[in-house]
């Protein structure tokens, strides 16, 4: 760190003045009352502020003035004893000055290393005064990222720029925050340090995690797509193999019936033969039934496993699941959860599945909505008959009448690439719990899906 020259000269002059003051005082108090050690004060001052050369100079001046003031006053029997003491004095002064200069250099280079390290960091680093919030230091990255902040100015306006990630308190340490101006995400860390000049300071580190977050969101979306695709493939495979299996008995029945028709129109039809064919038809019909039953057993979801489940906790974990998806398309999800909803026997996994399906539908409905309408609200209410009612409301444009009538029918979908099973799965889950599900248009044009679940057992 370079110092400005006038200040150096001022300190040098002060050191010399102090030297003179010590000399005069020492001379006035006589040889027996020793004050020589006080010379170390100006020597230290000069060395620390102006470097080793200044320290050596002040040492020499101090030793000389000491010799001059006591040359005729000393109590030694021999004159050279006195000079020997002078040599010892200047030796001590010089050793002191050299050591101090070394210490000074060491501190300087350690400061320089620190600053260099800070400057080369990719993270924005700045230090603020603990008392008034002034910025004491800021590295290159910080000045580039926040050009309107400057050293020596108050850092508080900067803090207003950040909003913490949802679900986390806006604390200082370890939270991810978004900068409203640049729309970039930062991981924020801070710790108290003693600054170079000894003041209490706070060192802040803002690491840009926008790309990492973006990658994380993409990764999640990718996994989700993969999951959906594999589900669609499995479904297609099931439908196809079901079709193949059913084709056999149905085709056979068709052929038998056609043959019957022909037999009946021929004059020589035999009743016994017709009976035989009809019996064969019946056998094929029941074979079709068996195929369907087997398929059903194969794909049937498990029976609900009911345990005392905290509804609010379930909603929270579902929100965590869809949180990234929602933010990626700029949808805010609000909750309005009645604290009176007590834990009740639900299958948590199935309930989560139903809620996720409804939330995804709601978000899907908002895809083309204006930004101010992009909100979904999840409500939970405890009803008078101890039932619990959960609602997922969206700010979309509602349902078209021709869709509304067939909402819960399997394989009916309005989404490209949809399976048409989401809502029918929801209904199966809710009905397996003994509840019911329906939808309502909202006054503002949106749509609400509501379902009830039986409350806690009495």
């Amino acid at each position: 760190m370079t110092r400005r020259r006038p200040v150096t000269i001022l300190f040098l002059a002060l050191a010399l003045a102090l030297t003179a003051a010590v000399t005069v005082t020492d001379a006035a108090t006589g040889y027996e009352f020793r004050l020589g050690a006080l010379y170390l004060v100006p020597i230290a001052l000069a060395t620390w502020t102006a470097g080793l050369a200044a320290g050596v100079a002040v040492s020499v001046v101090a030793a000389l003035t000491w010799v001059l003031s006591f040359r005729g006053m000393h109590l030694y029997s021999e004159q050279w004893f006195f000079y020997w003491e002078a040599v010892l004095n200047i030796g001590i002064f010089l050793i002191f000055a050299v050591l101090l200069a070394r210490l000074r250099d060491a501190l300087d280079s350690s400061d320089a290393r620190f600053v260099m390290a800070m400057q080369s960091l990719d993270a924005a680093v700045y230090a603020t005064d603990a008392r008034d919030g002034r910025i004491l230091f800021a590295n290159r990255c910080f000045l580039e990222s926040f050009p309107d902040a400057a050293i020596g100015r108050d850092a508080n306006p900067l803090h207003g720029r950040f909003t913490a990630d949802r679900g986390l308190q806006e604390g200082d340490d370890g939270s991810e925050v978004i900068d409203h101006v640049s729309q970039r995400w930062y991981l924020r860390g801070a710790r108290d340090v003693r600054w170079v000049d000894g003041t209490q300071a706070r060192l802040h580190i803002l690491t840009d995690v926008t790309d990492a977050r973006h990658a994380r969101v993409l990764q999640r979306q990718h996994e989700e797509t993969l999951h959906r695709t594999s589900r669609a493939v499995a479904l297609a495979e099931m439908a196809s193999s079901l079709g193949h299996e059913l084709n056999q008995p149905l085709g056979a029945i068709g052929s038998y019936l056609e043959a019957c028709d022909r037999l009946l129109s021929s004059p020589t039809a035999e009743l016994a033969q017709l009976r035989e064919v009809i019996a064969k038809c019946r056998a094929q019909a029941s074979r079709s039934g068996m195929i369907l039953r087997r398929m059903r057993e194969f794909v049937a979801g498990r029976e609900p496993v009911r345990r005392e489940t905290d509804l609010v906790g379930t909603v929270a974990s579902v929100l965590r699941l869809v949180h990234f998806e929602a933010r990626a398309i700029g949808i805010s999800i609000e909750t309005d959860l009645d604290a009176a909803c007590r834990p009740a026997p639900f299958d948590r996994v199935l309930l989560e599945q139903a809620l996720v399906n409804l939330l995804r539908n709601a978000m899907e409905a908002l895809k083309n909505a204006a930004p101010e309408r992009r909100r979904v609200c999840v409500r939970a209410r405890s009803l008078a008959n101890a039932e619990v009612q959960l609602s997922v409301e969206d700010g979309g444009t509602g349902l078209a009448p021709e869709v509304a009538g067939r909402l819960f029918v399997s394989f009916v979908t309005t989404k490209p690439g949809g399976t048409g099973l989401g809502l029918s799965i929801c209904r199966s889950i809710i009905e397996a719990h003994g509840g019911r599900i329906w939808h309502e248009p909202l006054a503002d044009g949106g749509c609400a899906f509501r379902f009830t679940l039986p409350g806690p057992a009495r």
Binding site: S240, H244, G251, A252, G254, S255, L257, A259, V277, Q284
Partner: protein
């Protein structure tokens, strides 16, 4: 005779039953291998073949029959989604294909068409065989004369080329017409309109 090949018993049985009520003879096979073990009778017939069977599939049977020189028309029965396979089979010379589920009258119509096709093929083959036999009954010299007659050369030129008397050529011509059962040279040409008859 309709040969029905399907691994599903009900399908097999019902198809045979339907074909019989329509007045056709039908024979059921449970697998492609069973077809290969059979000596076909020499009558108008077609093959109703399930394209997807355990063991040897319909396509493999088609290839094997073609290799054995069996030219009976084949109608493939395919499930939904095997249509590209059926198209490939058509390129390999299959007569037709039906996608399950199919209309029964459609099936009957195609089977009848295939049988007609087979009947036409068989009579063409019979005529061809007969003609070959007739040609084989000619002497070497008669065949030389016949080749030149078919090239449109007058008797005089033929006599010059073969270095025989005009009278001899006329005599050979008359014998050729008699042996092949035609009355005039025009009828002779008509008989040989089908290519490769002389080879």
């Amino acid at each position: 005779m309709v040969h029905v090949v399907d691994d599903d018993e009900a399908m097999r049985d019902s198809l045979c039953f339907l074909l019989r009520t329509a007045g056709l003879a039908a024979k059921a096979y449970a697998s492609a291998e069973a077809v290969l073990d059979t000596q076909f009778e020499r009558c108008n017939s077609c093959l109703l073949l399930d394209i997807r069977m355990p063991g040897m599939g319909g396509r493999a049977l088609q290839a094997e029959l073609a290799a054995r020189g069996e030219r009976m028309p084949i109608i493939f029965i395919t499930g939904h989604g095997n249509v590209p396979m059926a198209v490939e089979a058509l390129k390999q010379g299959a007569f037709d294909f039906l996608e399950k589920p199919f209309e029964e009258h459609q099936l009957l119509a195609r089977v009848l068409r295939a049988l007609d096709h087979d009947a036409a093929r068989r009579s063409a083959e019979a005529r061809h065989a007969q003609r070959l036999a007739q040609l084989n009954s000619l002497t070497v010299r008669e065949r030389e004369v016949l080749r030149r007659v078919l090239q449109g050369k007058p008797s005089r030129i033929i006599a010059g080329e073969l270095n025989v008397a005009l009278k001899t050529v006329e005599f050979h011509r008359a014998r050729i017409l008699a042996r092949l059962g035609v009355r005039s040279v025009a009828e002779l040409f008509h008989l040989f309109l089908a290519p490769d008859a002389l080879h």
